[in-house]
Amino acid sequence: MGEEIKVIVFALGEEEYGIEVEKVKTVERMMPITRVPKTMPFVKGVVNLRGVVVPLIDLRGRFGLPEVEATEATRIIIVNSGELEVGFIVDQASDVTDINSDDIELPPEVVGGIQAKYLRGVAKTDGGRLLVMLNLSEVLNKAELVQLEQMEA
């Protein structure tokens, strides 16, 4: 029997994704962003999160999906991974749900245009929805970013 995991459900386009609740600090509405020059294009800038300066990543940009204008539904999910504290900009964050770790299956090669290494797997919820679970440490992996920068340069 696998263990129950609570996940935050959010959307990018049509697809629904999940991040474990323990990794998430808060979910915020859109707030004024201060642009940081000369960073990766998907780093949108920094925000003041109650006195702490936190960098924001546009998850669409990070996964190479087309970026969209922020709407009323746009949310910032502040995640903690190791020493890093980063905000993800997502189309909407709708729900908290339970899944069973046994129900997480290995991801197919590409899901909704996102490479498999950023994904932990695909989970089926009780409601029959499909949730794509993110592999946070890979999404925040800096070694790959350095390579990216070098390729651009």
Partner: protein
């Protein structure tokens, strides 16, 4: 009684006492006749003994007890200090420091101090002097008999014997007329190392290298070869008079490892003999009558009322205060908008109080640089001894205060600079005499306040930097081109030694090692928001200056606007602000320049550097500019608009972003928005 509650207090106090012991012993070494230092040393040692015995650290207590015995004799003028006693006492202090370190890390403070204790005992019974003499005398004629080995060496020897190797004791004597003794010894070692492994040499290899031996030395050696053959091979080296190899068996080894207690000090004395005997007689002469106790007793330090506070609490206080500061700025903004007199007055009062509070909070975190400087005299003494140079360290301004975060980080770069000065800056005693300089070199370590900065200088009266060699080296290493190199002033060239290209192993002879790690020093200082530079005059010495900010957490900044974006420029690098008409912009070789106080300085477009989207300075008839400077470089930075001056709290942008070009951090403005802090140094090309 639960000792754990007292442990941290014990550790803190032991460290204080050890530091005091170190300092006073150094002072005493400078003036061995001043018994008032001995009083202070004795008291510290005595307290330390009592404390460690109470806490149950037996080894520590017994060592301090023996040290106290020696000090007691000195105090009562029954014994006069000499180099040997100083060395043993310093060794004792090192051992004590290790023990306290061990206790700090949760250990039991156990250490084998029998060597030091034996030496101390021999001092007390006065036997070390005669032993030193006889040992020194016997060393001339025959190889020293006491080839004692420690436990580690014993175990190595035993293991090799178990695996079928032979342990040999080889006594080598050089001919009387031998001039290059160190070189001959080196040849012997070379030969030996080809055929086996040297376990121990008496005197030590360092002493052999420095020719600190008479004509003979002894080597304990592990090999597969035959002893006779080896001895013959060694005899064949020119100027070697006799070489004897003796096969050691397990029993002899045991004996060597456990000599009679008295033999131990004799051995260490024999190596120190030459220097000890000479300086012992010297200091005896210099100390005809002991001063009475009340004569010149060091004034007891003024007891200041202090409490120890956990650093984390201070940090928490600082963080909370930063939050308060942000709210204060916000309140000021709001009251300005609302414009009610009572509100404005209240907010102004609040501002004044919080300014006072800020001063106090910042002062709480200030620590005198002495807490870093105090370990340097000892370090310099040790390095000077190992390099065989005579050095005097002159410290000034040790009471200058710096933020604790800076203090914590500044130690390593300073150690580096001091080592550099001692190792490469100062000439050898011989070299100094030839250059017509006093035999003893001087290193000055100064700290002082100036404006919003603290300066720390390391200066030495050594050989100075050979600018031309640095220039050639810089071109060779590709740090800059021949053309660029010829344009630079000597000072600019000298500062190239901080460039990373100089930290290669391939060095110029009389500049050797000068650049090793200096780029690391610079990187560290830069990361503290400071700067480091060097001035040097060939033949008369070099001066390294470190400039550091007083504090790292709150700075005064000039807020500027670029279109819709706001940025903060640290006020420390702002020289002047002004307005520039478009027609006043000059074009020199395609670079935009402006004339400023009889000089022409480059114009930097901040909007271009930061790639702003909604501000184009080309559209403006008049541009606001800020003149910034870094050393003797100046530049005018074009901005959209000035907002004003403000106290800002430095915030990190988080680990994910790492370092971004031209931006040194972020701050939160009164309106809750994040503004980036510009790194003015990055705006200079």
């Amino acid at each position: 009684m639960d000792m754990n509650a007292y442990l941290s207090m014990f550790i803190d106090e032991s460290q204080d006492h050890l530091q005091a012991l170190n300092e006073n012993l150094l002072k005493l070494e400078g003036d061995p006749t001043d018994l008032s230092f001995v009083q202070v040393i004795f008291r510290s040692a005595h307290t330390l003994k009592g404390m460690s015995a109470t806490m149950g650290f037996e080894d520590m207590a017994s060592l301090t007890h023996e040290m106290e015995n020696v000090l007691d004799l000195v105090r009562n003028s029954k014994l006069s200090m000499d180099a040997f006693i100083f060395d043993v006492l310093f060794k004792g202090l090192d051992a004590l420091e290790n023990m306290v370190g061990d206790i700090t890390n949760g250990g039991q403070g156990k250490a084998d101090v029998s060597n030091i204790v034996a030496s101390l005992k021999s001092i007390v019974d006065g036997s070390y002097l005669s032993r030193a003499e006889t040992a020194a005398a016997s060393a001339v004629a025959v190889p020293p008999a006491n080839a004692a080995i420690d436990e580690f060496q014993l175990s190595v020897l035993k293991q090799s014997m178990d695996s079928g190797l032979k342990a040999l004791r080889i006594d080598v004597s050089l001919v009387e007329s031998c001039v290059l003794k160190a070189a001959r010894a080196y040849m012997v070692f070379n030969l030996l190392e080809e055929r086996g492994e040297v376990i121990k040499s008496i005197p030590s290899v360092t002493e052999l290298e420095q020719e600190k031996f008479d004509r003979s030395f002894t080597v304990i050696f592990v090999t597969q070869q035959d002893g006779e053959e080896l001895a013959e091979a060694i005899s064949n080296i020119s100027e070697v008079a006799v070489a004897q190899a003796e096969l050691l068996d397990a029993a002899t080894l045991e004996q060597l490892a456990r000599p009679e207690p008295a033999a131990q000090p004799a051995r260490s004395a024999s190596t120190a003999a030459q220097s000890a005997v000479v300086s012992a007689t010297e200091s005896t002469k210099a100390n005809p009558t002991a001063r009475s106790e009340g004569g010149r007793q060091a004034a007891p330090p003024a007891a200041s009322r202090t409490i120890r506070v956990d650093i984390e609490r201070l940090d928490a206080l600082m963080n909370l205060f930063s939050e308060l500061l942000i709210d204060r700025v916000r309140l000021e903004q709001l009251s300005g908008e609302i414009g009610r007199v009572e509100l404005t007055e209240t907010v102004e009062h609040l501002s004044r109080i919080s300014a006072d509070l800020q001063n106090i909070v910042l002062k709480l975190r200030m620590v005198p640089v002495d807490s870093v400087f105090n370990r340097f005299p000892r370090m310099i003494r040790d390095i000077a001894k190992s390099l065989d140079k005579k050095v005097e360290l002159v410290i000034a301004g040790a009471d200058t205060e710096l933020d604790r975060t800076v203090i914590d980080e500044i130690g390593d770069p300073l150690v580096h600079l001091l080592r550099n000065s001692l190792d490469h800056g100062l000439e050898t005693t011989q070299g100094r005499l030839e250059a017509g300089k006093p035999e003893t070199g001087t290193i000055w370590l100064r700290a002082y306040h100036s404006g919003n900065h603290v300066f720390i200088e390391v200066e030495e009266d050594g050989r100075g930097i050979n600018t031309e060699k640095v220039r050639a080296k810089a071109v060779e290493n590709g740090v800059l081109s021949q053309e660029e190199a010829s344009k630079l002033t000597p000072d600019e060239i000298n500062n190239l030694i901080f460039a990373p290209g100089f930290s290669t192993a391939d060095q110029i002879s009389d500049l050797s090692g000068r650049g090793v790690g200096l780029d690391v020093v610079r990187t560290k200082i830069f990361s503290l928001g400071g700067n480091v530079s060097v001035e040097s005059k060939l033949g008369s010495g070099s001066k390294f200056s470190i400039q550091l900010p007083l504090t790292l957490s709150i700075i005064t900044a000039m807020l500027v606007r670029l279109g819709s974006e706001k940025y903060a420029v640290p006020l420390t690098s702002v020289v002047e602000t002004g307005i520039l008409k478009r027609e006043a912009i000059l074009s020199v070789h395609g670079n935009r320049m402006m004339s400023y106080r009889n000089a022409v300085i480059p114009i930097v477009s901040l909007s271009k550097v930061l790639e702003t989207s909604d501000f184009r300075e080309e559209d403006e008839e008049e541009s606001e500019y800020i003149v910034i400077r870094k050393g003797d470089k100046w530049a005018a930075v074009i901005v959209d608009d000035f907002i004003g001056q403000s106290e800002i709290v430095l915030k990190s942008m988080g680990a994910y972003l790492g370092s971004t070009p031209a931006v040194s951090g972020a701050t939160i403005l009164g309106d809750g928005q994040v503004a980036l802090i510009i790194d003015p140094n990055a705006l200079f090309k």
